[in-house]
């Protein structure tokens, strides 16, 4: 890709991927997976020199990207068995969900930035009671001895040290795939007559699930199984098209 984006070295792989994608700007609708993989690998090169652990996180995402690229180039040849196939689909859906989640947080963090800028333009009075009123403030250290100081110091320094040495185990990501989210959604939509877009929120128990359900809803729409109508008040109502039998057949196909 011909553009250069200055990337924050503290960004994770998903953040970097998002920046690369957004850097493509208007081309987002004709994004080249090959270019994306190339750019992403270049970013890994930069980070490999910094930190092996960071590079590893990047390589995991790169693996998924490369797999996607291979399938695009050679759609018919798949060397994977069924289980691996399924695992790949899950990885891909998860990558997409995480990208959309990252995009959500990035957009809202821009608002945070603006609010913080405004907040920093207003000054608070930090003086508090100041020296002239210090006689009003009770002394929190009236009974302190020199030995207490040494103890407090050692405690403070100890608290700093092990924290930075501890190993953080990464907790597993939600294992739900978009496919599963779609099934759950459809089930829910069929059971109730009066559905709105809010169903995405109601079902989700975490933010990433919001994204997964959202994608599930999108798929249902693309498969022609639901209709979405926005009212004047802004609420989006969801209608299921056809009956249960038709729908389950459609899904099986």
């Amino acid at each position: 890709m011909s553009y250069t984006v200055k990337l924050d070295l503290y960004e994770g792989p998903i953040g970097v991927l998002l920046t690369l994608i957004q850097g493509a700007d208007i081309d987002i609708y004709q994004l080249s997976i090959t270019d994306l993989v190339n750019d992403f690998m270049a970013e890994i090169e930069l980070r490999k020199r910094l930190d092996l652990e960071v590079a590893t996180e990047f390589l995991l995402v790169a693996a998924t990207l490369i797999e996607i690229k291979c399938r695009k180039l050679f759609p018919s040849t798949s060397l994977l068995d069924d289980d691996e196939e399924l695992a790949f689909f899950e990885e891909r859906d998860l990558l997409l969900a995480r990208l959309l989640e990252a995009k959500t947080y990035r957009d809202v963090s821009n608002v945070f930035g603006t609010l913080i800028d405004l907040g920093q333009a207003r000054f608070r009075r930090e003086v508090g009671f100041g020296s002239e009123l210090s006689h009003l403030v009770p002394d929190p250290l009236s009974n302190v001895r020199a030995n207490d100081l040494a103890l407090a110091y050692e405690r403070a320094m100890r608290a700093t040290t092990p924290e930075s040495l501890s190993i953080h185990h990464v907790t597993p990501l939600p294992r739900m795939s978009v496919l599963e989210a779609r099934e759950i959604l459809l089930d829910r939509l069929l059971k109730s007559n009066n559905n709105s877009f809010e169903v995405v929120n109601t079902l989700a128990t975490s933010k990433i699930e919001v994204v997964l359900y959202f994608l599930g809803l999108l798929e249902l729409y693309k498969l022609g199984m639901i209709d979405a109508v926005q009212s004047e008040s802004g609420t989006i109502s969801i209608e299921v098209k056809g009956d249960l039998d038709q729908l389950s057949q459609a899904i099986e196909r």
Partner: protein
Amino acid sequence: MTNAPLRGAIEALLFVSTDPITIDDLVTYLDASKDEVEVELDEISKSLTSQERGIELLKIAGGFRLYTKAEYEPYLRRLAEDASNSRLSGAALETLAIVAYQQPISRSRVATIRGVNSDAVMRLLSVKGYIAPLGKERGPNSAQLFGTTKYFLEVMGLNSLEDLPRLIEFAPPIEMAEALENTLRDEA
């Protein structure tokens, strides 16, 4: 009927306090009724809207606090001790957003969402006073959980966490999701 000394006392308290003061606090310190305090706060707030006044009264982080009006920033910046208005990086802002919306949240969970170890960024946010440890998760492998602070609310100009922008409104548009999905699909 106005109660001049009460208003003066409220102003004096607001002037020296380094935290937002709640109405309940004022009631306790001043032996006044809640109604009286509310009336005087309202009067103070109104009188500060005048163009001649350089400060304003904001309801923030659950209490009231005086701030200089934002328009005077250029003059105050010259006086301020740390003249550098250091801005948070994109990564730090994103991490802050994740903590704000998902609190209480552990460091490892933040790392999972960002896909990268975020300890340094979390520590920066902590030192800056935006986030703080809240306590531990329950269970054997209990991790420290983090949340945003009162100072965070103050800097953001929010009265409570409920005033945060609604996250759902920032979900990417359908077209973008579709475009991305197409890129990642295997059909060429």
